[in-house]
């Protein structure tokens, strides 16, 4: 049951999006999120939709995979919708007791829910087309300038990739400890939340002990293989921009400029 957990939910496929440099995808996701929360008006909304649909098409990832990501935030979407619906001041359309639904409320609620949906689909497109390792590599390279202000960028990236490597191992270990405890009569399933939380203690203590032991072993193994931080280190798979990456950057910049222009025009002439 615990083995089903997958992190990073990478979907292997042969598409342009999969082959792009992770830095491009990180930058693209950032641009896209900014554009989502700054756009105004129907034309900009249409443009964002076209952009999203085209990258979904390019990615070759089945749409159902993205919808899966949406399920986890249904509650959040409902709450956001309700708050916007009832708490926005403006022209009252319907009034039930103290609750009133305004025209602006409906507009805001729809807008926020759509934004959230687009946000989730957009970001999950990045994680679906990028392996966790590529992501850490991309982050490391993209954040390299911060090394100048003494931020240990390489070390953070190394920690992330080691964490990713050990998640399945620790999950398996949790499973093993759980079964061992259950064999001796431990009960993880019944009772209220407090009782369940208490039942977790005999699970977490051995797990932590073992994690520390593993960390110790791993540190020694890394040292034995001459690991001494990022200094003087070469890369087996160095990141390098290709033609497709440059084109992607151009597309992203054009998209962003268009969104900004549409926002400006809308605010100026429509209100």
């Amino acid at each position: 049951m615990l083995k089903d957990i997958t992190l990073g939910q990478y979907y292997p496929a042969d598409s342009i999006l999969h082959k792009l440099d992770p830095r491009v995808k990180l930058f693209g996701t950032m641009i896209y999120i900014i554009s989502l929360f700054s756009f105004r008006g129907i034309p900009a909304f249409v443009l964002a939709t076209i952009f999203l649909i085209s990258i979904i098409r390019i990615s070759k990832v089945p749409f159902s995979y993205m919808v899966k990501g949406l399920k986890s935030i249904v509650v959040l979407m409902i709450i956001t919708g309700i708050f916007n619906l009832f708490l926005t001041q403006g022209e009252v359309l319907v009034q039930i007791w103290v609750f009133k639904i305004t025209y602006e409320g409906i507009k805001n609620a729809v807008l926020m829910v759509v934004r959230l949906i687009y946000l989730i689909i957009g970001t999950s497109l990045m994680t679906l087309t990028t392996t966790p390792n590529q992501l850490t590599d991309g982050l490391e390279k993209a954040l390299m300038p911060l090394e100048k202000i003494k931020l240990p960028v390489h070390e953070i990236a190394m920690m992330m990739s080691i964490a990713l490597r050990f998640i399945p191992i620790l999950v398996e270990e949790t499973d093993k400890i759980m079964k061992a405890q259950m064999a001796r009569g431990a009960d993880f399933e019944s009772g209220n939340i407090i009782k369940k939380a208490k039942a977790m203690i005999p699970l977490l203590v051995p797990l932590f002990v073992s994690a520390f032991r593993r960390a110790n072993d791993l540190a020694m193994a890394m040292e034995a293989r001459c690991y001494h931080g990022g200094h003087g280190r070469t890369k087996m798979k160095p990141l390098a921009y290709g033609v497709a990456d440059r084109k992607a950057y151009v597309v992203l910049v054009v998209y962003f400029v268009l969104m900004l222009v549409l926002r400006f025009v809308w605010v100026r002439f429509v209100g």
């Binding site: 990739s161 593993r214 193994a221 293989r225 690991y227 280190r233």
Partner: protein
């Protein structure tokens, strides 16, 4: 001229000092007690000993993970106790540990093998070449893009060996590499180690408590309570069954059987290591 020893230990002592909260010495445990060890390049050395005999401590010295309290240790002509030599020593003497999971760093096989060369600053193209060569040398080339989590214990351990090989060491120290493996995995790993010794000419130091694994070694050291108590060829070591049992080592069944047969009066030679040897010895007894 005498060939230079790749590992040369003289009067090596290591003490683990346990301190209480104020930093006062509470207990001193001598893990290595004046150990002398000479290893020539290309040899296959086995170090035997039960748990707590100091064999792992010795291994960590060869890789400069621990510094000696007393005595000297030279690895490939360099003093392993000097801080400035640490990286050179670790490069010329690679180390494989017991737990296969806790020594694989990357989540793809080939990236893990590339980790060592990356650390010592090998150029990118050469890393790829070394990764391919070392994966081939342990027979794991077809798994290069797999995740280590999906491999068996023996395969993981072979990946770990490849990771060390990619640093082109002169010598590999294997600290109980088969202790956590099933019999099949154990066989796989030993076969790979032997092939490296024979084909690539890498010096092997195999630390173990399974006596079956040392049969093919050139030279065997037996350790007990931090001291080297016996040394010699496998045959000469195995002919001293009673002494081995005294050091809490389990003698291989064949050797034990031969020993018991001899004790009860059959005229067969000492130090029988394999089943074939025993069969032959018994046949010659029958003919007489």
């Amino acid at each position: 001229m005498k060939e230079q020893n790749i590992i040369e230990a003289k009067g090596l002592v290591h003490e683990y000092i346990r301190r209480d909260e104020e930093g006062n010495v509470e207990a001193i445990q001598t893990a290595l007690d004046h150990v002398n060890l000479d290893v020539r390049p290309g040899q296959f050395i086995a170090i035997l000993g039960h748990n707590g005999s100091g064999k792992s401590t010795l291994a960590k010295h060869i890789n400069a993970l621990l510094a000696p309290t007393e005595g000297t240790l030279y690895v490939d002509g360099k003093d392993a106790s000097k801080e400035e030599n640490v990286w050179d020593v670790r490069q010329s003497a690679g180390m494989v540990f017991q737990n296969p999971d806790n020594q694989i760093i990357a989540s793809v096989v080939e990236e893990d093998v590339g980790f060592g060369p990356e650390n010592i600053g090998v150029p990118t193209e050469e890393i790829w070449q070394r990764v391919e060569e070392s994966l081939k040398s342990v027979g794991m080339l077809e798994y290069r893009t797999h995740s280590p989590n999906k491999l068996s214990g023996g395969q993981k351990q072979r990946v770990a060996i490849a990771g060390v090989m990619a640093m082109k060491p002169k010598c590999i120290v294997l600290d109980e590499p088969t202790a956590m493996l099933d019999p099949l995995g154990r066989k796989e790993v030993l076969k790979a180690v032997r092939a490296l010794n024979k084909q690539a000419g890498v010096t092997i130091i195999l630390i173990t408590h399974y006596m079956e694994e040392v049969v093919n070694a050139d030279y065997v050291f037996v350790m007990d309570e931090g001291k080297v108590v016996m040394k010699g060829t496998p045959r000469s070591i195995f002919s001293q069954v009673e002494e081995l049992q005294e050091y809490r080592l389990s003698v291989p069944q064949i050797t034990l059987l031969a020993h018991e047969l001899k004790k009860s009066g059959l005229p067969i030679p000492d130090g029988i290591l394999t089943r074939d040897e025993l069969v032959e010895a018994l046949l010659s007894v029958g003919q007489q």
